[in-house]
Symmetry: C2
Subunit: 170 residues, 2 copies
C-alpha cells in the first residue's frame, strides 16, 4: 500500500459530525466515507499494479462498454469531467496506442473515441483484477446484506432522480 501522508488512514467525513445533526446528513456522510474508502483503495491498487490512474481506467471502462466509440462530449458527460480533461486523458491514451479517434462520416468536424485491440486487452486484464478487489472489499457483508444494500441504494437512486426532474420543472 501507498505510504504517503494523505493515505496514512482512511478519510472519514463522519468525524465532522455533531450530535445534533440530522439523520440524513449522517447517512450522507457515511455513504461518502464508504465511497471514498473504496475509491482510495482502488486508486492505490491501479497505480501499484498497472501504473494507471483512476481517471484513465474510468475512461477506458466507458469505451469498453461502448465498442462503437463515444463522442468527446458524451465521454465528458459520463465521466463528469470537463472537456479539457477528457481531451488530455484521451491524448495520453492515444499516445500509448490504447485508444483511437475515428471520424464520424455524417459530421466532418466530429469524431468518436474507441479502444484499440491493444487497449481492449489491457483493459480486460485490469478489469478482472479490479473486480477481485471490489469483491474482497464487500466480502465482509453476507449475500443478504449485499442484496438489501443494493436494493436500498436503488430506491435512493430512483427517488433522487425523481426529485431532480421535479426541480427542473419548477
Amino acid at each position: 500500500m501507498d505510504k504517503t501522508a494523505p493515505m496514512a488512514s482512511p478519510p472519514d467525513p463522519e468525524t465532522r459530525l455533531h450530535d445534533a445533526h440530522h439523520e440524513s446528513l449522517r447517512l450522507w456522510l457515511r455513504l461518502l466515507t464508504c465511497t471514498l474508502t473504496i475509491e482510495r483503495d482502488v486508486r492505490a491498487r491501479l497505480r501499484e499494479r498497472f501504473a494507471m490512474t483512476l481517471a484513465r481506467f474510468d475512461l477506458m471502462a466507458q469505451l469498453e462498454r461502448n465498442p462503437e466509440g463515444l463522442k468527446m462530449g458524451e465521454l465528458s458527460r459520463r465521466l463528469m469531467v470537463t472537456s479539457g480533461n477528457v481531451t488530455g486523458l484521451t491524448d495520453q491514451l492515444v499516445d500509448e496506442g490504447l485508444v483511437e479517434r475515428t471520424p464520424i462520416p455524417a459530421d466532418r468536424r466530429a469524431f468518436r473515441v474507441r479502444l484499440t485491440g491493444k487497449g481492449k486487452r489491457a483493459f480486460d486484464v485490469m478489469a478482472a483484477e479490479h473486480e477481485g478487489w471490489v469483491i474482497e472489499m464487500f466480502s465482509g457483508l453476507s449475500d443478504r446484506e449485499r442484496d438489501r444494500l443494493h436494493a436500498l441504494l436503488g430506491r435512493l437512486k430512483v427517488t433522487m432522480h425523481t426529485s431532480e426532474r421535479a426541480k427542473a420543472r419548477t
Copy 2:
C-alpha cells in the same frame, strides 16, 4: 440549476455494467452513482448560493468540527488532498478572512489553521442550507429505509476497515 454540458444529466457509472459482472461490482457502481449524484448537486448549489467550492466548504467543515484548529498535515489527511492543495485552499480562505493561521508554542516551525469568527458565522449559514439539501435528497426514503441503509453502510465501513488492517499486517 447549472446548465453546462457535464451537468446535463446525472453521471451514472452503472451504465458501464455487463450482465456477467459480479454482484459486488454492481453494488459498488451503484454506491458510486448515488454518491456522485449527491455530490454533484451539493457542488452546484454551493456555487450558486454562496460562490463556494466543495473543497473549500469541506475544509471549513473540518475546522468547524475542530475549534482549536488543525495542523496542515492533519487537514490534508482528513480531506484526502495533497499538502499543496490544502495550502492553496487555506491561502484563499485566509485572504478572505474566513480562516487564520496560529503558531504552535511547542513547535516554532508549525502552525494550526482555524476558523475566524467571520468564518464560523459564514460556515454556519452554509451548513444549515447544506443540511436542508441533503434532507431533501434523502426524502424519498422512509425513516425505516434510511435507518437500514445507515446500518448496512456501517457494517460495510467496519468490515472494510478490518480487511485493511488485515492487509497491513501481511
